[in-house]
């Protein structure tokens, strides 16, 4: 195993919200049409695993290149400071592994299409 994706969410006191993230990671992991040999998730706070633990777990299972994807909509302290700090801690534990941070979710150029698709389908459902 070589390439891994770590989906990083804030973490919530509501178990259901954390389970939504775990389900997303499982669905991504189940796909065989991606560049990633494995997909897992980690949390900045309030849930486990932590980001360093998530990185260490992927490295232990053979990952040599890890992309950390912040599942965040806005660029705040979490995205700019806290996640990079946690990733830096993870890198120290597994210096042989390359760990890169992807743009946070809200930066996706596909977000406009996704929002329109959701809104249009609701509009059609109401109109029909």
């Amino acid at each position: 195993m070589n390439k891994a994706l770590l989906l990083v969410a804030h973490g919530s006191r509501r178990p259901h919200s954390n389970d939504e993230i775990r389900s997303l990671a499982r669905q991504l992991n189940a796909r065989d049409d991606t560049s990633f040999d494995v997909v897992d998730c980690a949390f900045l706070e309030l849930a486990r695993p932590s980001i360093p633990d998530g990185i260490a777990k992927l490295a232990a299972s053979g990952a040599r290149h890890i992309i950390v994807l912040p599942y965040f909509l806005a660029a705040g302290r979490h995205v700019h400071e806290d996640i990079p700090a946690e990733v830096a801690t993870g890198r120290q534990v597994v210096p042989q592994v390359t760990v890169e941070i992807a743009p946070y979710l809200g930066q996706s150029t596909s977000m406009l299409e996704l929002l329109l698709s959701l809104a249009e389908s609701t509009h059609r459902a109401v109109a029909s």
Copy 2:
């Protein structure tokens, strides 16, 4: 003007985060390939306009059908209770207008594709 889309975010103490939402709404509003005559945004708290004010503003400019789209990743109290309550308040102010709530962003079936696209492009940038 008939159909409108109101993008609803949580609202932040960071002006930049609120401006990201306003920019998204402006970009959606500028498109001419959608069902919506106008797109605007509103905030649950910490920023303006409020959801009832956003609904009233759209109604005043001629909207008769409004889709409220929660720009939220997780199904929590905000999505299940607070936004519906604010929308109900808005409906009372403009009873002649139809106001429907779309699924929240995190429920989009396109989310997996969007995440993969972000992760793959980062992976390619690192590998190249």
